[in-house]
Every structure is written in C-alpha cells, then in structure tokens.
C-alpha cells in the first residue's frame, strides 16, 4: 500500500477511535502498530481536540495529516469494533478496499433507540436510589426523573444546544422533578432522589479518566479533560443551585 493511502487509513481509524472516546494512548498506539505492519513508521500526537499523524516510509518520503476533533462521545462498542479491526489489519495486512469496507461497517454500527436510552436512564437512576438507601418510593421517583433528565439531554443534543446549557437544564430538571415528586408523595426523601438522578449528569468518569491520563503522563490530555470535567460540574451545580433556590422560594408557604 502506498504511503498516502496508508496515511489516509490510519488517520481515519485514529479519528474514529478518538471520537468514540478511546484513550489517547490507544489511539496513538493503534496508528503506530498499523503503520508498522505495512513497514512504515508513524509519529502520532493526539489530544482530545486534535490528531496529527505523520507517516514515513523507508525511502524517506513523509506524509502528514491533521484532524480537528470537535466533539466525541463514549461509544464503547465502536471502540471495540475498531480495536478488532486494527488487530485484523496488523495480523493479515489486508488490501485497502477490504479495510475501507470494514470501516464503513464500523461507522454504521447500530445505536440504541431513544426509547431504549430512556429506559436505561430510568434503570440506572432507579438502581442508584436503591443503592443509596432509598426505598421503593424513592426508586420510583428516580425512575421518572431519570427519564426526564435524559430526555432533556437528548433534546438539547438534537437541537445542538451546546453542552453548557444542556448541563444547566439537566441539573434544573433533576431538582424540579424530584421536588414535584415530593409534592405528590409526602415523606419522600427528596435528597436521595436528587443524588441518584444526579449520577446521570455528574462528570465522575471524566474526572477519573483525567486523573488516569495525568498519572500515566499524558499531561495535555489530563489537563484538558479535568478542565472539561470542572466545567460540566460547574454547569450542573449552577442548574441545581438555581432551581433549589427557586424551589425553596416557591414552596416557602407550602412546606
């Protein structure tokens, strides 16, 4: 395979990995291995926002590509499929057409429907309510509010509302939903409901991953991710606090 084709393919695989939420180390390592399998040398620099790949062959030709990454999600099934594809490429060194066909398949990997995602949100929030010592009423409330919060997030995603507003509204939906539930069912432990639904929004995973990157030596990535985690946490906190304040003010006479 000539060097330009190899550059195209490795960059595309790296880009797909990066936008599917694979670790930086995996992105860089995969590209280097694929290039190595075809007898070329790769220098890769990846951060969550950008990917730079330089491929060099034995004759001294080099080819560089950069890709800007604007947003990524966590699609572990796609990471898994790409990883399997990369293993296959390194083992068999297949032709370009075959790789492109496989890449197309990976790109069209099916996602869960909205209804399934809402059900998953309900399941997650309900399970957290039970885990945090809530009873059946708390779990039921968390189920309903979890669906509401996930719905808000999906609507914001589809209308391209930006993650800042999405997180603020998510936090607000969480508190107001829990508040409404506690009006319907007196004696409901509202804080448990809020905490369980908040688990859907809290960027705990982002924080953990950023610390992992920092400890592993990917400093730029670690700092970027921790800044993002801080931003998300602040947005959720703003949403929660404002709506808590409003809720207290509204129910001053009632409760």
């Amino acid at each position: 395979m000539d060097i330009k084709r190899l550059s195209d393919i490795t960059t595309e695989i790296g880009f797909q990995l990066l936008t599917s939420g694979a670790e930086i180390h995996r992105v860089e390592d995969t590209i280097c291995r694929i290039a190595g399998a075809y007898g070329a040398r790769a220098d890769v620099f990846a951060i969550p926002a950008s990917l730079v790949v330089t491929i060099g062959d034995r004759e001294g030709h080099t080819f560089t590509q950069t890709r800007r990454v604007y947003h990524s999600d966590s699609n572990l099934a796609r990471v898994d499929a790409l990883n399997a594809l990369a293993r296959h490429i390194c083992g068999q060194c297949p032709e370009e057409e075959e790789i492109l066909a496989e890449l197309g398949k990976v790109r069209n990997l099916s996602c869960y429907s909205l209804r399934q995602q809402l059900a998953a949100a309900a399941l997650g929030a309900g399970a957290f309510a039970l885990l945090f010592g809530g009873g059946i009423p708390e779990a039921a409330a968390a189920l309903v509010v979890g669906i509401a919060v996930r719905f808000v997030a999906t609507v914001m995603e589809r209308t391209d509302g930006g993650s800042t507003l999405s997180n603020i509204l998510g936090g607000a939906a969480c508190v107001l939903g829990a508040g409404l539930c506690s009006l319907v069912w007196r004696g409901l432990d509202r804080d448990t409901v809020i905490i369980s639904v908040l688990m859907l929004l809290v960027p705990g995973l982002l924080m953990t991953n950023s610390m992992r990157d920092l400890i592993a030596g990917d400093l730029v990535t670690g700092v970027m991710k921790s800044a993002e985690a801080l931003l998300v946490a602040t947005c959720v906190a703003i949403g929660v606090m404002c709506s808590l304040a409003v809720w207290r003010w509204l129910t001053m006479g009632v409760m």
């Binding site: 099934a77 957290f128 885990l131 809020i194 953990t208």
Partner: protein, 142 residues
C-alpha cells in the same frame, strides 16, 4: 442485594456506552464485583474503600479484556460508575448554597480525594496486570 443494585446501575450506563449482548452483562457484573469489594472494605474509611473497589474492578476488567480480546474500557467504564462520589458532590453544592464555606470545602475535598483514590486504584491495578501479563507472554517466546 446492594451488589445487585450496583450491577443494575452499571447495566443502565452500559447502554449509554452502546454496549450490547454478552459484553453489556459482563460490564454490569463488573459493577457488582466493585460494589462487593466496596462493602467488604467498609471499615477502612472512604479512601481505602474506593481504592480497593477500583483495584478489584480494574483487575476484573483487565482479565476479561485479555480473555475476550476486547479493549479494557469496555468492561472498566460502566463498572466504575457506581463508585462516582455523587453524594458528596451534591452535599458540597448544598453547603455552598447555604453559605457554609468550610463545610463546602471539606465535602468538596472529600469528593476530589475519592475521585483520586479511584483513579489511583485503576492505575495501580492496570500497571500490575501489565507486569504480570508481560512476563506471562514473554516466557513461551524465549
């Protein structure tokens, strides 16, 4: 019973991460295993508790990844979710809203250090596994 709830929570998040079939349930089982160790280490205080839980989850995820030939995050990511310190983070927000700055700082710091403990557990376990498996792999070839 709590172990089962933790597994259910991981299952829900596994769907967000678009996992399917056997991998989804294997990841959910990881959440259960993590919570099992979390409750077993209950007497050790929150740092040690989270550290041990994330050690166990990572060990499980690395073993699963190597036997199933799948990337580690497939099993690791959903399983870590139940450990996330959502409670302290919310408490910290409440304290901030009530103007209790010292309480806000101490709970916020607790949340931060718990997160650090989880990350350290992941790093420690995955480096240890790498050492073990490198030796294991190196032996037959030499």
């Amino acid at each position: 019973m709590e172990v089962f709830y933790a597994a259910l929570a991981s299952l829900g998040f596994g769907v967000f991460f678009n996992l399917r079939g056997r991998k989804l349930f294997a990841a959910a089982a990881g959440g259960g295993i993590g919570w099992l160790f979390y409750t077993l280490a209950g007497a050790q205080g929150p740092m040690m508790q989270n550290f041990i839980a994330s050690l166990s989850i990572t060990a499980y995820a690395e073993i699963m990844a190597r036997t199933q030939r799948a990337p580690v995050p497939v099993y690791l990511t959903p399983a870590l979710i139940p450990l996330v310190p959502g409670g302290p983070i919310y408490q910290a927000m409440l304290h901030a809203l009530n103007g209790e700055t010292d309480l806000f700082l101490s709970t916020g710091l607790l949340a931060m250090s718990v997160t650090g403990a989880i990350a350290l557990g992941v790093v420690a376990a995955s480096s240890a596994m790498r050492l073990i498996f490198l030796r294991h792999l190196a032996r037959p070839s030499r």
